[in-house]
Subunit: 276 residues, 4 copies
């Protein structure tokens, strides 16, 4: 009855969900199931981000490293270039190897997807999930000389000291070396603002990479709206951001699951074919 006593005493609560959010799908144990789960979640991410208007044309890309279904090593799961995000399904995702060659599925990945995603992973092998978008508000900030995400809103806090800024746009990413360069700029952060281009979100789980893109756009929207009013914005004091973030950092994965899986279930109602 921890929650109860904390409320009684007015103390800070630690969220004590006894069960994590149940996944809205079931997969068997083992490599096939792990591969399948990643396909379901990645397809839901393509559909969900499209519904939120965070993608652009058929250009942006999402990827996740997965064990091959037959257990023969690890591959990068990525979209088939040229599909509308509303066409992506669990089974039409491609698996590509470290050279960008398709090893599972029909078609090819976007070359820029291969270059950016594989390049970053050369530098950040822990970047299990990578999502790259040109989402409007965050990208607008990334086009400014001072592109910094300011601590204007509670949503900004989760990105405190967690955004890297690449201010040297070098053209379309058509070489692996460019992806590596981006990985080096990213460093240990989880968000990269790509100047004159867009953003990258890296995470250990699909739900977290998705959730971060969503809240990054909300935080950027607040910053852009506030900047348009030309009055002084009330920034959260820098000295308080760290402790405030610490207070919730243990909960963020759970929040991300709650949000992502709720979107997953909603998509299942309106676009059930994504699970095919």
């Amino acid at each position: 009855m921890w929650a109860l006593s904390a409320l009684r005493r007015g103390r800070t609560l630690v969220r004590t969900f006894t069960s994590a959010y149940p996944k809205p799908y079931t997969v068997p144990e083992g490599n096939w199931g792990t591969n399948r789960a990643a396909r379901l979640e990645l397809a839901a991410s393509f559909r969900g981000l499209d519904k939120l208007g965070l993608n652009e044309g058929v250009c942006n890309h999402l990827s996740v490293m997965v064990p091959r279904a037959d257990g023969q090593g690890e591959t990068m799961l990525v979209g088939h270039y040229g599909l509308h995000w509303q066409e992506v399904t669990a089974s039409n995702l491609l698996e590509v190897d470290w050279t960008g060659q398709t090893v599972q599925g029909e078609g090819k990945a976007d070359v820029t997807a291969a270059c950016i995603h594989l390049g970053i992973r050369h530098i950040r092998p822990d970047a299990k999930v990578i999502m790259h978008t040109h989402q409007p508000y965050a990208t607008a900030l990334a086009c400014m000389k001072d592109p910094r995400l300011l601590m204007v809103h509670q949503n900004s806090l989760r990105f405190y000291q967690n955004v890297a800024y690449d201010t040297s746009y070098t053209g379309f990413a058509l070489a692996l070396e460019e992806g590596k360069r981006l990985g080096r700029v990213l460093g240990e952060k989880n968000i990269l603002f790509m100047g004159n281009h867009g953003v990258v979100s890296v995470a250990k789980t699909i739900s977290m990479a998705f959730d971060n893109l969503y809240y990054l756009e909300r935080a950027a929207m607040m910053q852009v709206l506030a900047a348009g009013m030309e009055k002084e914005v009330a920034l959260i004091p820098d000295s308080e951001c760290g402790p405030m973030l610490d207070a919730i950092s243990d909960m963020l994965q759970e929040y991300a699951d709650a949000h992502f899986y709720s979107n997953y279930r909603i998509l299942r109602k309106s676009q059930p074919e994504f699970e095919l």
Copy 2:
């Protein structure tokens, strides 16, 4: 024939609807029915605010104090954390006690919901309905050093001298004490601007809390759009705001019912499962 004669004479009319807006549902008399009516209206609020784009992720929360169906005291009706607002139904709402414990239904409320909503009610026991959102335009104002809602539009008038401003963001609301603090800042007002965070609407009825969030966002949109043009805004003179508000204050509950129940009926066509 009051309306007629007033029109003839050009006098100020008092709206004289002989019947209040009929509720679009029927419930039996007594505790069960009162509880059921609150569940129907709160579920419609989740769905309606989602349709209007005033919510964020699965984060914001709506609550109402209701008699328990069996008549054993009063509980707080609130959303099950982790549900998409399009998934909320009358029957999956939770009832929690003053310690935040679920006493009816499966699952848990968001801890921040419990802290904010119960905390405010400690200070404002008349706050039967509380709605907390991060709606874009109003929240953008709440992120400014001078967050005041200005009297730029007829819609602003209903909030004249009725908004409290909390300019000291203290991090995620993880303790009951924080809710109490917010309640003290709110004082006798019905709207709270939470700096760097969002807004709270408190009211005696669900329709009024909903209607106020809707018109608050419209008023804030006007203010943000006007501020972006960098020219001088035409404020309604302060000396006239009070009398203007007095002239309509008796009608506001009726307006709110008209608006809210029309949304309710529309939702019933497209998402009828919310009444389950």
Copy 3:
């Protein structure tokens, strides 16, 4: 072959549609048919403006003067207060007399509708159709100290010297006298900017009042977007606006019909019940 020769010689064309746009409905000759046609078109206007996002809550109102179906004089056709605009149908529109009393249909009109619409018609008996909205961009302009619609775009031209500005907001319109005052401010113009409030469009046909609201919002959007960039806007030279407008003024009713009836047909596919 006028069009042909004009193209050959590069001369200015006058649009020479041999047939006006066919109405997408048929009604019998006579009062009943005229009344019925107005009901169909007004219901389509409620639905169409709602789809375009130009209305607010259940507040704004549209009206048209029509002969009574039985030929016994003329009445004002107006919405039943409290209906969502998606609920309005040809048959649930109300007819009210010059005192605001309902003479056909169940329910009451909004008092502010009666005051504004009847009041304006006292002064402008030619105002067969009146539409009042709080559409976002035009209303934002109406909240500025200098609310003038500037000639920033081709769409602005149709309102050249055709907008009146009321800069003295007087509170909710709860008396017939207020409507008369608005009518006097409107004078001979067809558009009224109501300071801190919204806009009014008056016209001889429903299609024209609708089309003007649509293009007014587009013109205002251009002006607001341009003002937000804080650079100098390129205004169409004042001396040229008159001749430019003259060149198209004969075509505007035809343009309006084309636009309005295309919307009508589209609504019939998705919301066919509006014709009931």
Copy 4:
């Protein structure tokens, strides 16, 4: 295995799709088939641009030069004036001759469509496809004294030195001479900003004209959002824009096909009647 070795060596890749994007429809060889393919694609453009919100009323227009189905010369395929863009189908498109006369189909083209599109083609006979819209963000830029599209984003690059600016609005285009004038201002560029009016996109393929309008609006959106923040924008250095564009220019048609045909397939699901 070029792609593979390039990734290994980190070198710049040239996209080497072995098969171009398959068209989502099949037509027989010959004039009838070519004519039919253009009808399918132009109808999909009307529907797709409407879905993206880039059109205005029933005003803007899209055209393509096609061989007549019977092989008797070439005609301009254009929309039937007065149809909602959601009503356009492959078979209700009109064919008009160089004098603007309808030679295939029922109805008439908009006179301004005939004047603008035929006039431009007098000057630019290579302008197989012409699309004219009043899309919001690009049009807002076109209303500024300095309407230049700046190199603020990767999307801007594809328009580097490829936009012509007409800063002398002359009223509604009601004469062929006006179209010729616009063609002369356009010169060898593929995009025309029409001051106080809108934009024109000319291309050799429908997919490219469509894709350019889409990315032009995205680029303009970034520029408008950035301008609203009143801070310094980070422009891509002028000296680098040329080489950057060169690096991708060979791929743009392929990108355009990928994007356009994905939209085509999506439309086929929700509005399959456009292919009739």
